[in-house]
């Protein structure tokens, strides 16, 4: 609710007259008035908000000023690409973070730990779009192994799909992976020092068993939360990466909407991002209660 008011209010503040923009420089007053009435922009703001919010609840986000398509269909068209990229990235992130974080926690202050710390610090600080450009330069330019960008649907060309997904997923995955690595490390370290682990060791359980059942299980519980939060951030970080790799996702749609002052599309895209963000947080909370018996009453 609050989210929707802000989305609406924010977009209303955008300067420039969208109808004038859509019509171009040559138009007559009559067409202008007709369009104005049809888009409802002549109504008072409060009326506009409630009619927009009411329709948004039923899945009708309005019509693009630019292309005339419904915003819902525009978003539906772009959503799979963004979700694919986000999930592929989180997969890359976990593949990096879990082994690296666990290893460095098992041998604190060792070479592995130091290297992991440095790498994750670098991963957090590197600008995504710069890494993207460097990767394109190396793998698409110099080596010529991968296409520099674009998107083909999985159903049409699985190999091409994977090739085009790889670089963007690695770029966003490395950044999230760095954050998660640090988290895994500290959480495994904490679990290693817990009383029940010492008890298990004292019982004479083999090291491997203690590690999988007592350390890892407990350490990876909070990972669910972090992964969820990172997934939510990924959706936002993906905007820039989508642009560099010409990945036709929601981020690209939102940016184009800003550039062409396409209010309904911008409203829809931002609202959707916010809703997805909230949904992920909700799912994470629910999941956490489901897997951690301590939280259940």
């Amino acid at each position: 609710m609050g989210v929707s008011v802000i989305v609406f209010g924010l977009v209303q503040l955008v300067p420039g007259d969208p109808i004038r923009l859509a019509l171009g420089t040559r138009f007559d007053q009559e067409t202008y008035d007709a369009l104005l009435a049809r888009s409802g922009l002549d109504q008072p703001l409060v009326t506009q908000y409630f009619s927009w919010a009411g329709r948004a609840l039923t899945g009708d986000l309005g019509v693009s000023f630019r292309s005339g398509e419904t915003v819902t269909s525009l978003i539906a068209e772009r959503l799979p690409a963004t979700l694919t990229l986000a999930f592929a990235s989180i997969l890359v992130a976990l593949l990096i973070a879990v082994p690296l974080g666990t290893l460095s926690a098992l041998r604190p202050r060792s070479v592995v730990d130091r290297v992991a710390t440095v790498l994750s610090q670098i991963g957090i600080s590197v600008p995504e779009f710069w890494m993207a450009i460097v990767l394109i330069l190396v793998f698409a330019g110099t080596l010529g192994w991968l296409p520099s960008g674009g998107y083909v649907p999985l159903t049409e060309d699985p190999a091409g799909w994977a090739q085009r997904l790889l670089m963007p997923a690695v770029v966003t995955g490395v950044v999230s992976g760095s954050v998660i690595t640090r988290f895994v490390r500290s959480s495994v370290l904490e679990a290693l020092g817990a009383d029940h682990v010492r008890t298990a060791q004292a019982k004479g359980l083999p090291g491997r068993q203690v590690f999988t059942w007592h350390v890892l299980r407990n350490a990876l519980l909070p990972l669910v939360t972090v992964t969820g939060v990172q997934l939510a951030y990924l959706l936002s970080g993906v905007v820039v990466v989508e642009i560099v790799f010409a990945w036709p996702g929601l981020g690209q749609l939102a940016l184009q909407a800003v550039q062409s002052r396409d209010y309904p599309v911008l409203q829809g895209a931002i609202l959707l991002f916010a809703v997805v963000f909230l949904l992920i947080n909700l799912v994470v909370d629910l999941l956490y209660t489901a897997i951690d018996p301590r939280i259940r009453r």
């Binding site: 600008p127 820039v240 560099v244 895209a269």
Partner: protein, 313 residues
């Protein structure tokens, strides 16, 4: 940003909590202890030094840059790095090194402004919410939750769509995005301090709210906020670069690092140095702010180490 501008009471009641063995000597001001401890952390010390150099570079940009940032010399265009142009030249023959030096000013100014704005507004909100609790807390923090629900980059893009591009608006956009982060950190920290004995003691002898806040609560709630400031600066510089890269932030011909990257992108297979050096500058600056933030956290606020790793990204 090593804590110098803090309002510090000379003998803070928590002076010995930082793991510094208390001795018979009169207690040092806390910011000096902090500096001392920080100097013993080699990574943080190096990061702070590099940052100082970058800031100096940004301040004295005009006199340091080998040539004017917008000096066009078409006959020298797209020159690879050489002695005359250590970072090469771009498609208009402008010296990349000079533009990177001048870009430091643009990027850092936007970063500092954004964080200052978020710090003041978010800090105030968090302070009020944490100190007064009850409905003040509810109203303010629910509003923060709503703001927090937006993905950072997208919220900034939306603000820029409203206000139009440019350096000032970019700072505002990034600042707005980080208000909830500062509000949360401040509130949590104030909650921890509010019920301390010295605060209650001071209240019981009739100190006003203003005095309580400024003399007791704020100074003792400051450490996590300082740490957050350093980390946020890292993200603010990164965000400015990203927004400028998208064409929404700093506008040409001003040399912002993000903008230079965007311009260099078109020449990536012809001239790698166009995009490489500005990117390196962003990376180095962000890395140093992050390392400094980590160092400050170890010194000021050891308990928070795991909790805040990577917040805000």
């Amino acid at each position: 940003m090593t804590g110098a501008p803090l309002p510090e009471p000379a003998a803070s009641p928590t002076a010995t909590e930082d793991g510094v063995p208390s001795t018979a000597r009169p207690p040092q001001p806390r910011w000096r202890q902090t500096l001392g401890l920080l100097a013993r952390n080699p990574t943080a010390a190096v990061a702070a030094t590099v940052l100082l150099l970058i800031v100096l570079m940004a301040v004295f940009d005009e006199s340091l840059a080998p040539s004017g940032p917008n000096e066009i010399a078409v006959e020298d265009r797209l020159q690879p790095p050489s002695l005359a142009h250590p970072f090469g030249t771009d498609d208009l023959g402008r010296d990349i090194l000079s533009r990177v030096v001048l870009g430091a000013g643009v990027s850092l100014r936007v970063g500092f402004l954004a964080v200052a704005f978020a710090l003041v507004v978010g800090g105030l909100i968090g302070l009020l919410a944490g100190f007064y609790g009850r409905w003040v807390d509810d109203v303010l923090m629910r509003f923060m939750d709503v703001l927090f629900a937006f993905p950072a980059v997208l919220l900034a893009i939306a603000v820029l769509a409203v206000r139009g591009p440019g350096a000032g608006n970019t700072a505002l956009a990034i600042g707005i995005v980080y208000i909830p982060v500062f509000a949360r950190v401040t509130r949590a920290s104030v909650l921890g301090v509010r019920e301390e004995v010295y605060v209650r003691a001071s209240r019981s002898v009739g100190a006003s709210d203003l005095r309580l806040l400024s003399r007791h609560v704020l100074p003792n709630a400051a450490p996590p906020i300082i740490v957050q400031t350093s980390i946020s600066l890292a993200f603010a510089v990164l965000a400015e670069a990203a927004l400028s890269f998208l064409g929404l932030g700093t506008q040409p011909p001003n040399p912002s690092w993000g903008l230079m990257l965007a311009e260099g992108r078109g020449f990536i297979d012809l001239a790698w140095w166009l995009a490489f050096f500005p990117g390196m500058a962003i990376f180095l600056t962000v890395l140093c702010f992050n390392l400094l933030g980590d160092g400050l956290r170890d010194v000021l606020d050891p308990r928070q180490r795991t909790l805040m790793a990577g917040s805000g990204r």
